[in-house]
């Protein structure tokens, strides 16, 4: 017998003595005995029976009473493994020691969950309920999108804006006493196609809009209808942008309605960072 087995036996009998004299409880004894399990060079687990003080070895499925090897080099004493062989009770040749029986019960508990779940069908049920919930959510989302399209709340442009390919809008309010002309010329857009320039004629106090289908750079020129320039702004229009220009007697005011500036000088097209 190797030193490791002797050390375990020594420890075992010390524990037995403490138990007999009442210095430790039965639970403390069993717990300490568990810690005395050792593994030999072949990887087999050994334990001493709590009651009969005999050695038991596990062959992977059951505990067999036998004597430890006389020479077993490389035997170590690691902490108890998380998973131990779980011998079926019907196939047990020798009743395992009580302490081993406790471990078998623990092992069966560790292995049991998948088998138990399979019998009850709980996991499968959860999976089905999850699938059903996803299907219901998809149906609700589909109905919501359909209703949104019907009501005009969702448009193709809404979808395009989500992927950054949507249009931008320019609104011009002519608050001058005379008619003006606004020429909008695309300079560089994200699409290959070259959109044609657009001209808006606004009488006094008219409001008109221009939709830039392709995000990109646009040059916006303001002029009196009868002639004479009022100003120019080069906009970098992004998907979903809404620019508002107001033609006033003393100049042109610009604002990005979807994300206004916090700086006053951005209101004037001659000094605005929107127009660079």
């Amino acid at each position: 017998m190797s030193d490791s087995f002797r050390q375990v036996e020594d420890e075992y009998f010390k524990l037995k003595g403490k138990l007999a004299t009442g210095r430790i409880t039965r639970e403390q004894f069993d717990a300490a005995l568990k810690a005395l399990m050792i593994q030999d060079a072949q990887g087999r687990w050994w334990i001493i029976g709590a009651e009969d003080s005999k050695w038991y070895v596990s062959d992977g499925t059951r505990w067999i009473q036998t004597d430890p090897p006389v020479l077993a080099p490389g035997i170590s004493m690691p902490p108890p493994p998380p998973v131990m062989p779980s011998p079926p009770i019907a196939q047990r040749q020798i009743a395992p020691p009580p302490i081993a029986r406790q471990q078998q019960q623990q092992q069966q508990q560790q292995v049991a969950p998948p088998v138990t779940a399979k019998k009850s069908g709980g996991g499968c049920g959860c999976f089905l309920w999850g699938c059903l919930a996803v299907v219901v959510l998809l149906v609700i989302a589909g109905v919501a999108v359909f209703v949104g399209f019907q009501n005009g709340m969702i448009t193709p442009n809404t979808v395009l804006n989500l992927v950054g390919l949507g249009p931008g809008d320019i609104e011009v309010d002519n608050f001058r006493d005379d008619a003006i002309q606004v020429n909008i010329q695309p300079i560089a857009t994200t699409q290959d196609s070259t959109p044609s320039p657009s001209a808006l004629i606004l009488n006094a106090f008219d409001v008109k809009s221009f939709r830039a289908q392709n995000p990109g750079k646009y040059r916006v020129d303001f002029a009196l209808k009868k002639g004479g320039g009022l100003g120019t702004c080069t906009l970098n229009i992004k998907s979903g942008d809404r620019y508002q220009f107001v033609a006033l007697p003393d100049g042109i005011l610009v604002n990005r309605a979807n994300s206004p500036s916090s700086v006053g000088r951005d209101l004037k097209i001659v000094t605005s960072s929107f127009c660079r």
């Binding site: 448009t155 395009l160 608050f175 409001v207 809009s209 289908q213 003393d250 006053g264 209101l267």
Partner: protein
């Protein structure tokens, strides 16, 4: 590879569909100046075709609404807004945070005013129609009834 071609084609088709914006022609058949708000999914426009003439509003495909609004009232309100904005623009470099927020709110109020006129329009002062990219322009005719009231009809 084929998948990418299909994706590009799909995006191109959508852009082409939304790119052909239809328009609405507003015809003034009265003997005086009128002001009309035309609203579609693209937003609102305010037009003022001279007597016997017409103006054009670009609208989104689908339904639109045209509403005749009191011209004098609109101009009076616009002039008040103009005075405020003109004063702020002259001092734009020195605007405080609250003053800047006030300017932005007044700009928002222009659109809100248009919506207000639409929601309070009397019977006969508004009409609704629909346009499609391949169905031609919409037509809105402004005329006067026997009692002198404005009549707006979408054709």
């Amino acid at each position: 590879m084929n998948r990418n071609i299909w994706l590009v084609s799909l995006i191109g088709a959508v852009l082409w569909l939304v790119g052909c914006a239809p328009s609405v022609v507003v015809e003034n058949r009265t003997g005086f100046a009128v002001r009309v708000v035309v609203t579609s999914a693209n937003g609102s426009e305010v037009l003022s075709p001279s007597p016997g003439e017409s103006s054009v509003a670009e609208v989104a495909e689908g339904s639109y609404r045209a509403t005749a609004i009191p011209d004098a009232e609109w101009i009076e309100n616009a002039k008040a807004t103009r005075k405020f904005l003109n004063d702020q623009l002259a001092n734009s470099e020195n605007l405080t945070g609250p003053q800047l927020l006030d300017v932005i709110q007044r700009l928002k109020n222009i659109a809100a005013r248009m919506q207000q006129y639409e929601s309070t329009a009397g019977v006969g002062a508004s009409c609704s129609g629909a346009v499609s990219s391949d169905g031609g322009d919409g037509l809105v005719v402004i005329s006067t009834a026997a009692n002198g009231a404005l009549v707006v009809s979408c054709r």
